[in-house]
């Protein structure tokens, strides 16, 4: 059921252009951020709490509007045509609780239909749930008894089922055990091979380096560093990260 995109698109699937967000209380959450994610690429945003990663994702989802600049999904400006743009994106958030009174299958069914796919069967859902690593006996249980990791798997399954060309991931691996984390990375790899463009925010430097095509480090609303995998091949990312963070520390001190 996963359709592999045959022709590679010329323009970036996900793009932030001069993205700036200033909140009403004067806080500058994003300051002129620019990046592009092409088809079949994974872009990892690194950064501490409050760096602006989630704000970026929220703007992509049109949950908030940018002060200036714009985000584009599949070339569509999100805050101009939000509904059109959202047809081409799936989203996995950190610690989503989903509907506690729904079973895993019911949650999947609701969100897939919401995403516009109405012709899927229970077997499709089960297949995807198995693919993300959720045991068969949990499929028909209510979410309120699920652990963090199990809920996260459901969230990922929802994103897979929507089968959109782009995926936004907000701290997807937090709360997952190492084994699940590894499985998740493998899954991302597969999704990229299928031609998806993936934007993920994360704290996990090592995983990011391992999987991302491009890594951006955000600090205080600015994209302070952006390197491709090749550029980072021999660099010590951890050191770089700490250096940029230290810069931030100095700035605020």
């Amino acid at each position: 059921m996963n359709t592999i995109l045959n022709e590679k698109k010329e323009f970036p699937m996900l793009e932030a252009v001069n993205l700036t967000k200033k909140y009403e209380d004067g806080l500058l959450a994003l300051d002129d951020v620019n990046f592009k994610v092409h088809q079949g690429e994974i872009y990892a945003m690194l950064g501490g709490n409050g760096a602006g990663k989630t704000t970026t994702i929220n703007i992509f989802l049109n949950l908030i509007e940018p002060t200036s600049g714009e985000t584009k999904i599949n070339g569509i400006v999100t805050h101009q045509q939000p509904l059109e743009a959202k047809k081409h994106v799936s989203f996995v958030s950190e610690n989503v609780m989903l509907y506690p009174e729904f079973t895993a299958l019911q949650n999947l069914d609701f969100f897939t239909r919401l995403g516009g796919k109405t012709n899927l069967t229970k077997d499709d859902y089960r297949q995807v749930l198995l693919r993300v690593g959720l045991q068969e006996d949990a499929h028909s249980k209510k979410l309120k008894g699920f652990s963090k990791g199990m809920r996260q798997k459901c969230g990922i399954a929802i994103a897979i089922l929507k089968n959109s060309p782009t995926i936004l991931l907000d701290e997807p691996t937090s709360g997952l055990d190492p084994k699940a984390g590894l499985e998740f990375m493998t899954l991302l790899d597969e999704l990229r091979d299928e031609g998806k463009s993936i934007l993920m925010s994360t704290h996990d430097i090592f995983r990011a380096k391992e999987i991302a095509n491009t890594i951006g480090i955000m600090n205080n609303g600015k994209l302070v560093m952006q390197r491709s995998k090749a550029e980072l091949e021999n660099a010590d990312l951890e050191k770089l990260y700490v250096e940029y963070m230290a810069g931030y520390m100095e700035e605020v001190a």
């Binding site: 929220n58 989802l61 049109n62 949950l63 908030i64 939000p82 509904l83 059109e84 959202k86 047809k87 994106v89 799936s90 989203f91 958030s93 950190e94 610690n95 989503v96 609780m97 989903l98 509907y99 506690p100 009174e101 729904f102 019911q106 609701f110 969100f111 239909r113 919401l114 995403g115 516009g116 969230g155 929802i158 929507k162 936004l168």
Partner: protein
């Protein structure tokens, strides 16, 4: 898309464990309400029948229609046991005489204060207290709860317009909560049939209207809850806010508005009226007795008949004076009362719960109109009764005190009266159209409340911070 959202709301509510508990409680209560209502009706009916039978029985052996101690009673109405209104507070028994003012005595609560202590379980209580809480319980976190669980972001990562979402929310919740409650309601209807409560077609229409109005109130609370869940950040706050609003709607506003009206509009004391009436009638009585000595029979053989005619003429004149005097006093008091009622009820209508309660009691015939309705019909019956007495005896009874006719001239005992000849008093509750008319304003208000709260929720959600 909308139907998907509605379906989700349905599944989420009906599938939740709290639904199982609270639905079970509500359903049980609905059934108990209907059962108890039917049973109460039967008890009241048998008491009423016994009183009527005793009234007739007490007339057996009496030889003069002026000597009967006739009473009429307010019959129990099937709907009054489902929405009691003020039916337990109004006097039910009226001592009937050919003339004189009629006074309804012995309200149910005065007679049996035990029932006044904890009140009754009826549809009014059910919708006002239980079901409105039920609505709050399921909708207090309609929006902020989704935000807390993170599902709101997930939902809006799809191509969902905000207005579709909020519409789906309200419609879904309304359907999910109302549909299941219809089942016990229908069983309740069946119970009325099975237990043999004599409901006329009009009664069914009225009951249907009561239920519809009840669900209008129910959806006011759904809309209000959704609105509050939008304007508050976390669900604990919205629950508290709703609970406080609920207390104000159900308890504080209606009660204080009545008290405010009581202060604002002065209604003369009933005791004052009674004293004035008594003084006036005493004065007339003295005049009457003085005039009696002036009676001189023209024909000695037929003097008894002549005397009766004289008395009757006298009585009638007296009756007319008393009547116009009393009516003037009563009218004044009733006018003041009507102003007071208008102030109280209109103030109370700030609360949708009060609107419902007023509408329901209007439909059930247990609103304040019951008092005037009963009084009017009793007055009409009095005329009928007076005519009957007049035909039978050439005289009407009344003016307080018992009448005994003693013959010392050794006549044979006259034949006994036949109580079956007595005209029957049949109380007719307000017609369907009349009660609909008086309840229409409240139905309208409930619609307005629904629209206001829904519009508020809708507009606020368009600007809601989805993060």
């Amino acid at each position: 898309m909308l139907s998907l959202l509605i379906k989700k709301e349905l599944k989420e509510i009906i599938g939740s464990s709290k639904f199982v508990y609270s639905f079970a409680v509500s359903a049980l209560l609905i059934l108990i309400t209907f059962y108890v209502g039917a049973k109460n009706y039967q008890i009241n009916k048998s008491q009423y029948d016994a009183a009527v039978a005793e009234n007739i029985r007490s007339m057996s052996g009496v030889t003069d229609w002026r000597m009967i101690n006739h009473k009429i009673f307010l019959p129990p109405l099937p709907l009054a046991s489902l929405v009691s209104g003020i039916s337990n507070d109004v006097g039910r028994n009226i001592g009937m005489q050919g003339r004189g003012e009629l006074i309804a005595k012995d309200s149910k609560y005065n007679e049996e204060p035990i029932f006044a202590v904890f009140r009754f379980l009826d549809l009014n209580f059910l919708f006002q207290i239980i079901l409105s809480l039920f609505a709050i319980l399921f909708c207090y976190n309609a929006v902020n709860g989704e935000k807390e669980r993170g599902t709101l972001r997930l939902v809006f990562s799809n191509a969902i317009p905000r207005d579709t979402f909020i519409l789906g929310k309200v419609l879904g919740s309304t359907i999910a909560l109302i549909l299941p409650l219809l089942v016990p309601m229908l069983i309740g209807f069946l119970l009325l049939l099975v237990l043999g409560v004599p409901m006329s077609f009009e009664d069914w229409m009225k009951l249907f209207l009561i239920i519809v109005t009840g669900f209008l109130l129910f959806s006011v609370f759904i809309n209000l809850s959704v609105f509050v869940s939008i304007i508050t950040k976390n669900s604990a706050t919205s629950f508290l806010l709703l609970l406080v609003t609920w207390i104000f709607f159900v308890l504080v506003i209606p009660k204080t508005s009545v008290l405010i009206a009581g202060r604002a509009v002065n209604v003369p004391l009933i005791d004052e009226l009674n004293t004035k009436k008594n003084q006036f009638s005493m004065q007339l009585n003295r005049e009457h007795f003085n005039s009696l000595s002036g009676f001189k029979p023209a024909n000695k053989d037929n003097f008894m008949q002549e005397f009766q005619q004289f008395m009757e003429k006298n009585n009638q004149a007296r009756e007319e004076k008393t009547k116009s005097f009393n009516e003037k006093l009563n009218r004044e008091r009733i006018n003041r009362q009507e102003v007071q009622h208008a102030v109280a009820l209109n103030l109370a209508r700030i609360s949708p719960s009060a609107s419902f309660s007023l509408a329901a009691s209007s439909f059930a015939g247990t609103s304040l109109n019951l008092v005037s309705n009963y009084r009017e019909q009793a007055d009409n019956y009095q005329k009928q009764f007076a005519k009957f007495q007049q035909e039978k005896t050439g005289m009407t009874s009344g003016g307080g005190g018992m009448m005994f006719v003693i013959r010392t001239d050794g006549d044979k005992k006259p034949p006994e009266i036949n109580p079956a000849e007595l005209p029957k008093f049949e109380f007719k509750p307000a017609s369907f159209s009349a009660s609909l008319g008086s309840g229409l304003i409240d139905i309208g208000l409930l619609f307005v409340f629904n629209i206001i709260f829904f519009a508020a929720a809708y507009l606020r959600f368009l600007k809601f911070d989805l993060r």
